[in-house]
Symmetry: C2
Subunit: 198 residues, 2 copies
């Protein structure tokens, strides 16, 4: 595997460091060191730290979009299978260090929602729109299983994202991925109870 080009290395370093220390606390020199470069190179590729952040947003969007598009849960036979498959998939990828499976978007939105709206805004949209990729299957499952609800498919889609994001926080709070996994188990049970009634 060839070493990625410098710009990509800087972006990957950013994703990693921000997830570990937050945006404000990651210095551009940290990013340079992590990428094995110097500030000269950094400011050749990005005109400011904020510019880096915006590029990292695009980098993250591209990365996650492709990652979930290729995920196996889309192959599920019916809408509910795909929905449960999504939850299983989110549980399956909870491996390695917390900085690896934790959500860059969630971190930024939590930390910088008010101080850096230009950066956190697109990431907020990213979380919401990623969640809504499940909406069609939820609607289909509601019809298929005759679920009469006082809630909307959209609200359930966002609830799933809330559990995912909350799981990450609990994982940090408990120091392990197990907390996030258990929360996804509860979410899965909720979905089964809701659609299959048991």
């Amino acid at each position: 595997m060839a070493k990625p080009d410098s710009k990509t290395r800087l972006l990957d370093a950013t994703l990693k460091l921000v997830r570990a220390k937050g945006y404000a606390a990651t210095r551009v020199e940290d990013v340079c060191a992590e990428a094995g470069l110097t500030k000269g190179s950094f400011f050749h590729h990005f005109k400011s730290k904020d510019d880096l952040a915006q590029a990292a947003v695009a980098h993250w969007e591209a990365h996650t979009t492709g990652f979930f598009a290729e995920a196996p849960y889309h192959a599920g036979a019916g809408p509910l299978e795909r929905l449960l498959g999504y939850v299983d998939f989110r549980k399956a990828i909870l491996t390695g260090d917390l900085t690896e499976f934790t959500c860059f978007a969630g971190n930024i939105v939590q930390e910088a929602w008010r101080s850096h709206p230009q950066i956190s805004g697109p990431l907020a949209d990213n979380i919401v729109s990623h969640g809504k990729t499940l909406q069609a299957d939820i609607e289909a499952a509601m019809i298929q299983y005759g679920v009469k609800a006082d809630w909307t498919a959209e609200s359930l889609a966002l609830h799933i994202q809330a559990v995912v994001q909350g799981g990450f926080i609990m994982a940090k709070a408990t120091g392990g991925a197990a907390a996030a996994a258990q929360s996804l188990d509860h979410l899965r049970r909720y979905l089964e109870l809701t659609f299959k009634g048991e």
Copy 2:
């Protein structure tokens, strides 16, 4: 209402600003300005920014402990009523600005779990132990309703916290408390389905 003393004002300002901008991005001068004081006063009460953070942790713990101890949900007749009452209470307090009802502990744990373990550690414990205050009622409800489960009362207690924390992130992502409220609705439905079967 008498104006709180300076130290308390500094601590309250810290809680507010950290929830809005994160820990690293809130400067001590911001805290002073928010409290209507200057650095002289600040460093009279705290010997460093980290010292402030540690004091803010204690301040937060004292505040939340009292706040939830006095909450009405403890008056519920049975364990399930108290559990559902807790969820209702968490939903009821989602008023005002996001900086007011959002969780200081969750913010710090998300941002500083690795960079400032001395500060985030106690707050992580705080989230977990607060969650576990529900554990006894969950266990009692499991017995009362004859719930046979492959999950533990502790895991459900932590799941509830995950939904609460995740709801805050979704509230920031969508720009309103409604997302958090809807997530709590789904959580409530899960609890009812689990214990009452419908």
